[in-house]
Amino acid sequence: MKRHTKLMIIGFMTGLLNGLFGAGGGTIIVPFMVFLLGIEDHKAHATAISIILPLTIFSSIIYIKSGIFNLPITLNVTLGSVIGGLLGASILNKVPIKYLRKIFGIIMIAASIRILFSK
C-alpha cells in the first residue's frame, strides 16, 4: 500500500475512535507510527500530540455544539489533570514504567468488566 494511503487510513481510524470514545487517539496512533512508518519512539509520541490535539479540539467543538458540556465539572477535572500531568511527567524517570503499564492494563480490564456488567 502506498505510504500516502496508509497515512490517510491511520488518520481516519484515529479520528473516528477518538471522536466516538472521547479518548485513546494517542494510544492508537503511536504504535502505528512506530511499526508501520518506522518512526522512533520519542518522536512518535511528540508527533502523536501534534495530530491528536487538532482532532480533539474539533471533536470538542462538536460535543459542545450538541450541548454535551459542563463547565464546572470540566474546570475541576482539568485543573486536577494539568497538575497531575506535570507531576506524572516529572516522575517519569523515577518509576518502573514497564510494570506500571501492566498494572494499569489490568485496572483498565477490570474497569471494563465492571462497566459491562453494570446497569
Partner: protein, 131 residues
Amino acid sequence: MKLFIIGFLSGIIGGMGIGGGTILIPGLTIFANIEQHMAQSVNLLSFVPTATIALLYHLKQKNVVLNIILNIILSGLIGSLIGSYISIYINSYMLKRLFAVFLFIMGIYEIISKQKIGEKQNEKAQNKKKQ
C-alpha cells in the same frame, strides 16, 4: 474536590504516557456518577491545555515529524466528525458498553505493549548519572 482528585490521579498516569483519557473516563463514570457522553466531553477538553504545553515543548525540541502530519490530520478530521456524531446519536447505555469493549482492548494493549519510552528515558537518566 472529588472531581479534582480524579483528574489529578489520571493526570499523573497520563503524564507518564500510560492510558491517559482511557483511565479518566471510567474514573468519572464509576466514581463520580457522571454520564458517559459528559465524561467523554470532559476528557476531550481536559486534554487541550496539557497537550498544548507539551506540543509547544516538542516543537521547540524538533521532535515532531512534520512531513507526515498534514495527511493524517486531514483524514483524521473527517474521522473525528463521523466518530463524534455517531457518539452523540447513540444512547448512553450503548455508548458505555461500546466504550467498555474499547477499554478492554486498550487494557490488553497496555499489558502486551513493547513501547519503551519511559524505559529509554530511564536509561538515559542513569547514563547521565554515570557520566
